[in-house]
Assembly symmetry: C2
Homo-oligomer: 108 residues x 2
DNA sequence: GAGGTGTGCTACACATATTGTAGCGACCGG
DNA sequence: CCGGTCGCTACAATATGTGTAGCACACCTC
């Protein structure tokens, strides 16, 4: 398996530039969506799955594994998965994305 | 083909919420990267391809088609592909993403 | 007007990633 | 011990992406 720490290769992009790694990870299906769904409350594996159009558990687990390795998401016994501190910072840019989408695609 | 206007289905997510469509589009491989590479200058098809680790022209063309349909990217004869006004607004959130990545993953 | 260069883009066989369903083992309450 | 939940794995089917070759067009220069 690839995709562990930032300095390692992720799907082939080995430039070492953090942004490249990030773009590569976020460019995997469901990754952005997962972060989005965790935006305001921790969710259990199954709840998270439900919110993400019943994404297959295979992929969900894979993504969560990656996100945990990158320290964006944590698992707490009892509550389930939640954003880490770093994850919450990233989240704010997703909120900006949402803002943009709502504004720009209001009519369509 | 799916993936045309915001109100239409994109890879199955038919909630109609703009953010969902956006997350789904950006969650396709290379889409984010393409936007990123266009950040400060227009690029020709081939130049863009070169910057994106020689992504296959099939995919590049597909992404550009989508991005043009969504009015994020435009093609100008002579200069090549460039961000639209809307694209540039979106870009600013990518810059924030970059900032976050540099800050958070400085050491790794 | 033949050859060279550049462009955007398509075709297609091959590889990888994702999906959908089934189900396991661990836990908990009754 | 039974019926519910939980996180998660296995695996075959399908969708998506890759890599190479090459086409049609335009603009040069000779």
């Amino acid at each position: 398996m690839a995709r562990k720490t930032v300095s390692q290769s992720v799907r082939g992009s080995t430039t070492g530039r953090p942004i490249m790694v990030l773009l590569d990870i976020l460019g995997q299906r469901w990754t952005l969506r997962i972060l989005w769904e965790l935006r305001d409350a921790p969710l259990s594996f199954r709840a998270l799955r439900q919110r993400c159009d019943q994404v297959s558990p295979t992929v969900l687990n894979d993504r969560l594994k990656t996100l945990r390795e990158l320290d964006l998401v944590q698992r707490e016994d009892g509550t389930g998965y939640r954003l880490s501190q770093a994850g919450e910072e990233l989240e704010s840019t997703l909120l900006a994305l949402n803002h943009w989408a709502e504004k720009h695609w209001a009519g369509r």
